[in-house]
């Protein structure tokens, strides 16, 4: 028994489906619609939502019958580009005001792409739902491109942070503007607090908009998991402030953290810190440059130090060192490396771009959605400083922010995107005047 599913090409409503034609095809046992199986829908909220399924003796017969279904949809132009201000609605606006809006001494803005997590495993939930509906075990073959479209992913996010410095150089106020795209699910109010920066003791003025669009639904992260866009924007703004003050970024970061678990984590990874590497060249031509960066998340306390090597000719960025300190009890050996692997992909490689017209996922498979490979990842140096279970999502957010900060140090560019793919690294380098000429 094999199944194949029909995915909607856009958000809208299914108005007609030729189930009789599909049922008449050889080897076809059943055609399922929303009324037959809760995993299917007549009102797809996004491109890639499963609307019908065919169960047949072979996978080939199921796929052939899909083509006979001739679906007709009623649909409006989808709203899929929140970065361009195109949203269905603002689900919620959260305002936090513990201080006056800051005069901007340093600004950083980061946009983070949808993130597919935690695994790219076969579509077990959909397969199980279809098997329940027909009352028999079956095998669902769904290409990875379809799985990227059909399954919820981490929300795309945007965060801009402005910092104000006092007379002694310390951060005295922070201003955050953040947007989180909850996609077709819409209700993601639980996520708003995750967008706030962890700057204990610093007066904050924040506005977080959670918006609904016709993009695939958002997977809700664990409560308390920090927002990687906010974390990266905060570290990049602090880096810009330290540069403007001519200080070591570590000194400035220490100043923002009172004694406590987060400070202890920072001090643990700081043993690997030799100051900013300022794009130190590895070769005579200045093609390969080195950079170091760190990131701290206050709750649950996590600090990451990253070193990268950037290739100014190709835009390729390699992660050469990664140290993590968490306020948590030692966990399974693979826990932190897996969190770092996801951060590496999130910061540098993994992107399932959406068609701006339909919201359909453009990535065709693992050749486009680029996971880390055997040469991508260094050994993770881990320090466990506490007693609670570790939160891998927070480590992922901190590591992605640290990698971006190291990239800024290696290249001098302001990395405004997760992921910083080679083209995003290269275009500001190509448009900047070349320092070595």
């Amino acid at each position: 028994m094999n199944a194949a599913v029909l995915l909607s090409p856009h958000a809208g409503r299914l108005t007609a489906l030729d189930t009789a034609a599909a049922l008449a095809m050889p080897g076809v046992l059943a055609v399922l619609r929303a009324a037959d199986c809760p995993a299917l829908t007549d009102a797809p909220g996004h491109a890639g939502a499963p609307v019908a399924a065919v169960v047949a003796e072979t996978a080939a017969a199921a796929r052939a019958a899909l083509a006979a279904l001739a679906p007709v949809y009623d649909h409006r132009p989808p709203v899929v580009d929140p970065a361009a201000g195109r949203i269905l609605s603002t689900v919620q606006t959260s305002i936090v005001q513990t201080g006056q809006p800051a005069r901007a001494d340093a600004v950083a803005s980061v946009t983070a792409a949808r993130r597919h997590l935690p695994d790219l495993t076969p579509p077990a939930a959909l397969e199980t739902a279809l098997a329940r509906a027909v009352g028999r075990p079956l095998h669902l073959s769904l290409p990875l491109a379809a799985r990227l479209a059909a399954e919820p992913a981490g929300a795309d996010r945007q965060a801009t942070i402005r910092l104000t410095a006092g007379p002694d150089g310390a951060v005295v106020a922070a201003d955050l503007a953040a947007r989180l795209n909850a996609g077709a699910v819409g209700d993601a109010r639980a996520l708003a607090p995750t967008c706030l920066p962890g700057l204990p003791g610093v007066p904050l003025s924040a506005r977080v908009d959670i918006v609904a669009t016709d993009t695939p639904p958002t997977l809700l992260p664990a409560p308390g998991a920090a927002c990687p866009a906010t974390a990266a924007a905060l570290e990049l703004a602090l880096l810009a402030l330290a540069r403007a003050q001519g200080r070591d970024p570590l000194d400035l970061r220490r100043q923002t953290l009172p004694d406590g678990p987060a400070r202890a984590c920072l001090e643990s990874v700081a043993q690997h810190w030799q100051g900013p590497l300022n794009g130190a060249p590895l070769d005579d031509e200045g093609r390969l440059t080195l950079g170091a960066g760190f990131a701290v998340i206050a709750h649950p306390a996590t600090a990451v130090l990253a070193e990268v090597m950037a290739d100014r000719d190709t835009g390729h960025v390699s992660l050469t060192r990664l140290a993590v300190a968490v306020d948590a009890a030692p966990g399974p050996a693979g826990l932190l490396p897996a969190a770092v692997a996801r951060a590496h992909g999130y910061a540098l490689r993994e992107e399932a771009a959406l068609d701006p017209e339909t919201g359909a996922v453009l990535a065709g498979g693992l050749a486009d959605y680029r996971l880390a490979h055997a040469f991508s990842l260094p050994e993770v140096e881990a320090e466990w400083l506490g007693h609670a279970p570790a939160d891998p999502e927070t480590v992922t957010a901190a590591a992605a922010a640290a990698i971006l900060s190291a990239l800024a140090d290696a290249t001098g560019i302001a990395p405004g995107h997760l992921p910083m793919t080679a083209d995003r690294v290269l275009s500001p380098i190509l448009s900047a005047p070349k320092p070595r000429e």
């Binding site: 095998h139 399974p332 996971l371 260094p378």
Partner: protein, 153 residues
């Protein structure tokens, strides 16, 4: 169709559209039937006459008269490769590990004096979502050491 699976001769009825991965999966072997569906992930890697093949992209009848080896045959429990993977904690996850074991055993069979870079290169056809490459490479090198000192392949 007659073929050899992990050294045992088998004779089976095979429909023409059946994938090698589905056939091996139905024989109870740990070969995912369709991990990524386009051969990029390497989770469905097996050896056919000693050469690595993506079983999820190969029709079963292509193995007719040939010798197929899976992780069970190449790295059985107690073998240097299996023990090294267990010791390094590189066998934690069921998704990519069978294909990684095949790639590792194949690389060690071709070259037991494998270097770290060669071990990484041997895994370039395998993607691991958990990023467990560091322990996997360490396990390959540990197994290589054992094979070199006479632990057997």
């Amino acid at each position: 169709m007659r073929f050899i699976v992990n050294g045992v001769e088998r004779e089976l009825e095979v429909p023409p559209h059946r994938l090698l991965s589905e056939l091996l999966h139905d024989l109870g072997l740990n070969v995912p039937p369709a991990p990524c569906c386009d051969g990029d992930c390497g989770a469905g890697m097996v050896l056919v006459d000693g050469m690595p093949v993506e079983a999820g992209l190969t029709l079963a009848w292509r193995a007719r008269g040939r010798a197929v080896e899976t992780a069970e045959g190449l790295a059985p429990p107690g073998s240097p490769v299996a023990r090294a993977f267990a010791a390094a904690g590189a066998d934690a996850c069921p998704h990519c590990t069978p294909g990684v074991l095949v790639a590792a055993a194949q690389a060690l069979r071709v070259n037991p004096w494998i270097t770290e870079d060669e071990a990484r290169a041997a895994l370039m056809g395998n993607l691991c979502r958990c990023g467990g490459y560091v322990p996997q490479v360490a396990a390959i090198l540990a197994a290589a050491g054992e094979i070199q000192t006479g632990g057997g392949a």
